[in-house]
């Protein structure tokens, strides 16, 4: 990529040039513009990243270019030139000819038709667009699949999409997009749905193919990290406007617009905490003024040392049966959580980090008593927190609370915010209505919401605000432990940062302990005192954040850190070759006896899983 970054747009005339593009959607009365007067060019073999948070109109822009919007409900103004010819003026039939052959597109979740085989969908393009015969098409399909590094390509042709993993599907989608050797590839959030390690692979793949195929790429994403990884030039969008464009270096080094500054400021940068011991809030910047937001960005104190732990998880194991086959008998078990032990001290934040299927959420749910526990025991300040001998909910719920991932789903849409917050109070504390009201108001204040918002319904709030409400509800019974299950993953970067700060703030004030579940190394780095890395249901590495991040000792931990995109173009690291490996499934045959967990202490309190005899379980 290095060289393509040097050649400047002016030198050759652009493949795609968008000028004054305005896209509006039909609403109750009239047209509502969602993309306003956007202009940009993409040169040959150039990668343009269009970055923005949800609702910024980046995807709509892409759709407008591809002409995929329903003309009945959407209106496109302005000029879109592909290789000189204007697309806006083309007939539907003509556009279809351009589509797929000259420019093609991949979507967020590799969207293959569930009822047709990979082979069918691939060869379809080849036959219809490139007029190949079946046999030719099949051959070509194989080569394409090999090109996107899919092992045993020929065998895959017969597979249905659901039989492939997310990563593989995305590869197939890419292969499909490449079928007609397009000159422009539009990738709309192609990696968002994927795990970090897979994401890294896909990004690499795209970059590589771009070189091989000499095509330009329009890369749409919300992740500055990804931008920094892939883009020659970057266009920042915000609420339908193109805020700022420029080479990626410039954007990152010298952002001109306030919004860009704010955005960059709120990105957690992996490694930015090197040399520090304790969590530290972000220094945020107001997106209008560009001035720092007045907020104490001072690091949090250490957890009171030596104090006896608040939560003790000892040898927790969780398994789900897998049934199937004749008389659907038990054919295996998902070892969701395997022999997991850890403890959290008061005022401490422990992060469980790992990819999908690593069992981190299951662990959290087990601690909250939301899933039936198989083995091991969980104690919360002397109480048994889960299992048959667990203390009653009414007692537990005043000590431990939980924040869920999806702020849209975790609030009952039919309750006013006030009632949502009041419900636990009414149920568990003997209080006067007035006291309850006061408490509700206080809670809202604590999470930075206005008291009058108590009258509103959840749907009248934004994602970030809802997550604040969720936090407030979690705090209502002021618990000692709050389990945050991917609590910020669904939020946009800027909001994410604010919520994280909020959580730290609260911890500072209330001496809370957090069990922070996340897949995002960078965020974890920000917020945790201690970190536990989970893989296939086991903790592979656990220890003080600094120690773990500064010398990751387990191969998987290293892999994770390597995969995490670094939002800094200057530090684009070269990655190891493209093995198309997937996260292994934690499903084990019926009789499977997992090896005993042996942890070796590599540094003070820093342990690493040691399983020489079970190498196959791991990369």
């Amino acid at each position: 990529m290095a060289f393509s970054a040097q050649l400047r747009p002016e030198e050759t005339q652009p493949i795609l040039s968008v000028s004054g593009l305005t896209t509006s959607f039909k609403v109750a009365r009239g047209w509502k513009p969602v993309v306003r007067n956007v202009s940009f060019d993409i040169g040959p073999r150039e990668t343009l990243a269009v970055v923005g948070e949800s609702g910024s109109g980046k995807s709509v822009t892409a759709m407008s270019i591809m002409g995929l919007l329903n003309p009945r409900t959407s209106l496109i103004e302005g000029e879109i030139r592909f290789d000189g010819t204007s697309l806006t003026r083309l007939s539907d039939a003509k556009i279809r000819r351009v589509r797929g052959s000259d420019m093609s597109m991949i979507f967020q979740d590799a969207s293959l038709n569930p009822v047709y085989t990979v082979g069918f969908q691939l060869t379809e393009v080849l036959r219809l667009k490139r007029g190949m015969s079946r046999s030719q098409a099949t051959e070509e399909a194989v080569t394409l699949l090999e090109k996107v590094r899919i092992p045993a390509a020929r065998k895959r042709l017969g597979d249905y999409p659901h039989q492939l993993s997310g990563g593989m599907r995305q590869r197939v989608a890419i292969a499909m997009a490449l079928a007609c050797k397009p000159r422009l590839l539009i990738a709309d959030e192609p990696t968002t749905a994927l795990d970090v390690t897979i994401q890294a692979q896909i990004i690499e793949l795209i970059k590589l193919l771009q070189d091989e195929e000499h095509m330009s790429v329009m890369f749409i994403t919300h992740d500055m990290g990804v931008v920094a990884e892939v883009a020659d030039r970057t266009a920042v969008m915000f609420r339908g406007d193109l805020v700022e464009t420029g080479t990626t270096q410039e954007i990152f080094a010298r952002p001109r617009e306030a919004y860009t500054k704010a955005l960059l400021a709120s990105i957690p940068r992996l490694g930015s905490m090197n040399g520090t011991d304790f969590p530290q809030p972000f220094e945020l910047i107001d997106h209008r003024t560009g001035e720092p937001v007045a907020a104490a960005a001072t690091p949090l104190p250490a957890a009171p040392a030596g104090s006896l732990s608040l939560l003790d998880v000892d040898q927790l194991s969780l398994r789900f049966d897998v049934r199937g086959g004749y008389l659907n008998r038990l054919i295996g078990r998902v070892h969701a959580v395997e022999d997991v032990s850890f403890s959290i001290a008061p005022g401490e934040t422990l992060s469980l980090v790992g990819e999908s299927g690593s069992g981190k959420s299951t662990t959290a749910r087990a601690i909250m008593g939301l899933s039936s526990m198989v083995r091991g025991d969980i104690r919360l300040g002397g109480l048994v927190a889960a299992g048959p001998k667990a203390a009653p909910r009414s007692v537990l719920c005043r000590k431990q609370q939980m924040i869920f991932q999806d702020p849209f789903a975790s609030l009952d849409p039919r309750f006013r915010v006030g009632d949502l917050l009041a419900e636990p109070l009414r149920l568990h504390l003997k209080l006067q209505e007035t006291e309850i009201e006061q408490k509700v108001v206080a809670l809202l204040r604590d999470v930075g919401l206005r008291p009058d918002m108590a009258q509103r319904f959840p749907h009248q709030f934004s994602g970030g605000q809802r997550q604040r409400i969720a936090i407030a509800r979690a705090l209502a019974l002021d618990p000692q432990l709050v389990v945050a299950d991917e609590a910020v993953s669904a939020l946009d970067v800027s909001v994410k940062a604010q919520v994280i700060n909020l959580m730290m703030e609260i911890q500072r004030e209330r001496q809370l302990s957090y069990l922070f579940i996340s897949h995002d190394m960078a965020v974890v780095e920000r917020i945790s005192h201690r970190v536990a890395v989970m893989y296939l249901g086991r903790i592979v590495e656990i220890g003080p954040r600094r120690s773990v991040f500064e010398n990751p000792s387990h191969p998987y931990t290293r892999q994770l850190m390597a995969a995490a995109p670094v939002p800094d173009p200057s530090r684009r690291q070269l990655r190891r070759g493209l093995v198309a490996d997937e996260i292994r499934s934690p499903i084990r045959p019926k009789g499977f006896a997992p090896a005993l967990t042996r942890m070796i202490e590599v540094a003070p309190d820093h342990f690493v899983l040691d399983l020489p005899d079970h190498a196959p379980e791991f990369p």
Binding site: Q401, L427, H428, L449, R473
Partner: protein, 306 residues
């Protein structure tokens, strides 16, 4: 800490659980739906106030005179001197009055059975969804079994075994309808109970019954309402069919269906009014209700399931 203003969601509203006002407004956005509703209201009123609207109580034998039998629409009574705008049946019963009273029974049967079925079905369905496990599989087995049998047949059997009578008809209808509700309720219930807010309330130590009633149920209502409306229509139609087959309500309380089948034997001899007018009344009623149900479906649950 400031309210996070940098928030692209800020001005977007979510689909689920719009306040009542919006619902109503969006309902009336459809002329057909509105028409249906108006029609339905009128019909219900007509049924409720039948005694005042009809100048004859068609079941007070003293008011009937078979000398007035089989009069064409518009002909005037020999005995009483008022015109029968929709004609009379063989008993000299004014069709208009008979239809109004028949409407009462049809609607009554329909609504009563549908609501009862809704209560039973919804409860079982939700419990199944919420409780899961063996209880669920038992309930759902039952539902599957019930649904694998066409309503008409089950009803027919029940009535064949229990004999006719309004009570039995309603019972039969309930028995054939509850499953539909149960299935829907469970479907929605599953979707909802998987949502975090249910787990959240668990975590908050909200007792199960409260979760079921205050959180789960309210969120499952809309689709149930839709089904309920449609089922009322189906119940009415089914009752009519059963009465037509001669296993429905007794002649002492003729529903529209029974009026139709009574008039059927005269239809081919051109005395169409005895059968056609009740038929139309039945038709309009069902159509009206279905129009409303259809509209409600569009308004209440975006995911269209027929």
């Amino acid at each position: 800490m400031p309210v996070d203003l940098v928030d692209p969601f800020a001005n977007e509203a979510e689909e689920t659980a719009r306040p009542m006002r919006d619902l109503i407004r969006s309902y009336f956005r459809s002329p057909i739906g509105t028409f249906g509703l108006v029609l339905m209201v009128l019909i219900v009123l007509a049924a409720v106030f039948a005694p005042f609207l009809s100048f004859q109580n068609p079941y007070d034998l003293l008011q009937l005179d078979i000398l007035d039998g089989q009069l064409k629409p518009g002909e005037t009574s020999a005995a009483y001197g008022y015109p029968y705008m929709l004609g009379t049946d063989d008993q000299g019963r004014d069709m208009f009055s008979a239809i109004l009273y028949g409407l009462r029974i049809s609607l009554g049967v329909g609504i009563l059975s549908a609501t009862t079925a809704a209560l039973i079905g919804a409860t079982l369905g939700l419990v199944a969804a919420y409780h899961g496990g063996r209880l669920e599989s038992i309930i759902m087995r039952l539902v599957d079994f019930q649904l694998s049998f066409p309503t008409i047949l089950v009803a027919l059997m029940i009535l064949a075994v229990m004999g006719k009578g309004i009570g039995n008809v309603i019972l039969a209808l309930v028995l054939v309808e509850w499953a539909t509700f149960a299935r829907t309720a469970r479907g929605v219930g599953l979707v909802e109970s998987r949502k975090d807010y249910i787990e959240a309330s668990h975590v908050l130590g909200v007792p199960s019954w409260r979760i079921l009633l205050r959180h789960l149920l309210p969120n499952c209502i809309p689709p149930l309402i839709v089904i309920a409306t449609v089922q009322v229509a189906r119940a009415i139609s089914l009752e009519a069919t059963l009465s037509f087959l001669g296993v429905g309500v007794p002649i002492t309380e003729p529903s529209l269906g029974l009026l139709i089948s009574n008039g059927y034997q005269y239809m081919f001899s051109g005395m169409y009014w005895m059968s056609v007018f009740p038929g139309l009344a039945l038709l309009v009623t069902i159509v009206a209700i279905n129009l409303v149900g259809d509209r409600l479906r569009d308004v209440l649950n975006p995911r269209k399931d027929t």
